[in-house]
């Protein structure tokens, strides 16, 4: 097991380096001089040169990458051009809010997905199965930013039950798990949960079908076991895979939150990314993407290791 963990970690290093390289290159595929965004429109040539040297843009690319990587390893992702604050602290504060949203969404998506998947697989080819799989397909096909709008229309505009935007009193910095805050979380969390819900429903439905067609289930039934016990057995066998899928989905939710956070003005990493893009705040853009991608790689790694520790067959392959 330890060897497996060590091996997985070693394999992740080149991925992490490549991810860093891609993030670094993002700034350099930007059309025009990266300084354009930083410089005031009436800047003198002298100021431009000073800044170019200050940012290291006058050095060859590999050297720039090395220096950037070294600073990044030391936790220095530069300073936001718009606010002047360190990128890392800006990103980490925003990521905290996104994690809150993602965890709430994961809980909703996982429980609903597990439920729909189990009943769809158990009552295969009945109307129950059809309804559950239709919900799953709708979940993965719906433009979630639009679903967010529709939910706002229904619950905020028409019914006036829940707030449409924001993260509650205290704005972005003071989150708390009380109703005053949670009511702001409900709509974005439901919106975020539909994709994992759909994916988990499909996964669990297939798993349930497989498990029910296996010999040991026949044996359990032959032994006269009640159907609820059979059902419990199915859950026990399907849950680890469903959890692994959920773990991966958590990563996608962290990275894919920009559209939903924009709809709900949720002060997370997606909204930060949005403002970084439109203010041409390149260090912030680069830093946010790097942090989110690293979170994603880390989550994948953890899922792999946890899965291997549950299911010994994985280590061999």
């Amino acid at each position: 097991m330890l060897v497996y963990v060590a091996r997985r970690i070693v394999y992740v290093i080149p991925i992490v380096l490549s991810v860093a390289l891609v993030c670094f290159m993002l700034v350099h595929i930007t059309p025009g001089d990266p300084l354009v965004a930083i410089l005031p429109a009436d800047a003198s040539q002298e100021l431009a040169n000073q800044l170019r040297a200050a940012y290291g843009f006058d050095r060859p690319l590999p050297v720039q990458f090395g220096l950037w990587l070294w600073r990044a390893l030391n936790g220095d992702l530069g300073h936001s051009i718009a606010t002047g604050r360190p990128v890392l602290s800006e990103v980490m504060r925003a990521v905290g809010n996104t994690v809150t949203l993602a965890i709430a969404a994961a809980m909703i998506g996982f429980s609903l997905g597990l439920f729909f998947g189990l009943i769809a697989g158990y009552f295969r080819d009945t109307w129950i199965d059809k309804v559950a799989t239709s919900i799953a397909i709708a979940g993965v096909s719906v433009p979630h930013y639009w679903l967010g709008m529709v939910l706002v229309i229904i619950f905020s505009v028409e019914l006036n039950w829940l707030p449409a935007v924001g993260a509650g009193p205290g704005g972005s910095s003071a989150w708390g798990w009380d109703w005053e805050h949670i009511r702001y979380l409900i709509l974005p969390a439901i919106t975020t949960s539909v994709i994992p819900m759909g994916i988990i429903t499909r996964t669990v439905r297939a798993l349930t079908g497989d498990i029910l067609s296996q010999d040991f289930v026949e044996a359990l039934r032959a032994k006269g076991l009640h159907e609820t016990h059979v059902f419990r057995h199915v859950i026990k066998n399907a849950a680890p895979t469903a959890l692994a899928v959920m773990g991966l989905q958590l990563g996608y939710m962290l990275g894919g939150s920009i559209l939903i956070e924009t709809v709900f003005s949720w002060p997370g990493s997606g909204l930060l990314l949005n403002s970084a893009i439109f203010q041409r705040d390149l260090p912030l853009l680069q830093g946010t993407i790097l942090v989110l991608a690293l979170f994603f790689v880390l989550l994948n790694l953890i899922v792999d290791i946890v899965q291997a520790s549950i299911d010994p067959r994985i280590k061999r392959s």
Partner: protein, 355 residues
């Protein structure tokens, strides 16, 4: 249609150059080791799939290869077909070295193969006729005559062309598919056909039909067979001579009756003993071998069978016994118990003549 005796043109077979005394195929020291991918945490290892295998096949003969799964039978077949690069060893076809006197392309026509899985060895997107006609077309035959040849061959393997030619592989039964595969192999007018577990996946009754078909085709087309199987009964039925392989090495070879009646290697004896016998009075005293074959990644030293051999002695673990002639009929075995004066307590005395 320029040959009045043949209704359909076939590709001309590779010309016989060596005469009847020249073996059709000679294999010397054939070796294939697969590296098992190591990484930072484990050393590189090798699987000795085929290790220094030598034998020859005379023209018109059927040679069988038997052994447990994983003993290197199928790897040997693929090496002979040049579907896989060998590490070392010579493959000589009718006295011609492949790559020098005989091009690889010519060898493909002189030697064909039938695979075990009848379904996987036919392209599911092609009709049966297209699959059979593919080979001749690769070798320059035009489409129409190649299709005519395919239909002709379907008849030869006992399938009515008007019924089967335009079918797809999933539309026919396993036995019929294997007949198609045989027709496909024959389409290039080969002189040697390698049958790699070609009947093993079939039902017993269908297997018998296909075996009889193989015997008939051999006579009609003057074929030579290399017949690979784990089924000893089938090998005995069809083969003239047999090779017994264990963990990538030949441990015994000889005329099939000699090997069956007087097996010299304990592994051969164990294989034969494990065969279900229909005659309760005819039982061997040799106990069946226990356990699985050792991992070919890490084969035992010396005689590879010594870990499972009831007669193993210290010398068996030290050095590999060479294949040694037991008689003048070509019966050979690689076992110290069969080598006079080898030092094994059960070996015949030095100078004793087994013949």
């Amino acid at each position: 249609m320029n040959q009045p005796d043949a209704p359909t043109d076939m590709l001309p077979p590779i010309e016989d150059v060596g005469g009847a005394a020249q073996p059709l195929l000679q294999v010397n020291g054939l070796t294939k080791h697969f590296p098992v991918r190591g990484d930072l945490f484990s050393a590189r290892k090798t699987v000795r799939a085929v290790d220094d295998v030598s034998f020859s096949i005379a023209k018109g003969e059927t040679v069988g290869i038997v052994g447990e799964s994983g003993c290197g039978k199928s790897t040997t077949a693929r090496l002979l077909m040049h579907l896989m690069q060998r590490d070392s060893g010579d493959i000589i076809y009718d006295g011609m070295t492949v790559g020098r006197a005989l091009s690889l392309r010519e060898l493909r026509r002189g030697m064909q193969m039938v695979f075990q899985d009848s379904y996987a060895s036919l392209n599911p997107r092609l009709t049966i006729e297209q699959s059979i006609a593919f080979g001749p077309k690769v070798h320059g035959m035009a489409d129409a005559p190649a299709r005519a040849l395919a239909r002709e061959l379907l008849g030869k393997v006992g399938l009515r062309p008007e019924v089967f030619a335009n079918r797809y592989p999933h539309e026919v039964s396993g036995g019929q598919r294997q007949r198609v595969n045989i027709a496909r192999a024959l389409a290039l007018s080969p002189r040697l056909v390698i049958l790699d577990e070609a009947v093993s996946a079939l039902d017993k009754s269908v297997e018998a039909q296909v075996l009889n078909l193989l015997v008939d085709l051999k006579r009609e087309f003057g074929l030579t067979y290399l017949f690979i199987s784990h089924d000893l009964n089938v090998v005995r039925y069809i083969s003239d001579r047999v090779l017994v392989m264990y963990l990538g090495e030949v441990v015994e070879l000889g005329p099939v009756d000699r090997v069956w009646d007087a097996p010299a290697h304990p592994y051969t004896r164990a294989l034969l003993a494990a065969m279900p016998s229909s005659d309760p009075d005819h039982r061997t005293e040799t106990p069946p071998i226990s356990g699985d074959p050792p991992n070919p990644i890490d084969p035992p030293s010396g005689c590879r069978f010594h870990t499972r051999c009831p007669f193993a002695e210290p010398l068996c673990a030290n050095a590999t016994p060479k294949l040694t002639a037991l008689d003048t009929m070509g019966h050979q075995a690689a076992c110290y118990m069969a080598i006079p004066g080898s030092g094994h307590s059960r070996a015949p005395a030095q100078g004793a003549n087994a013949i």
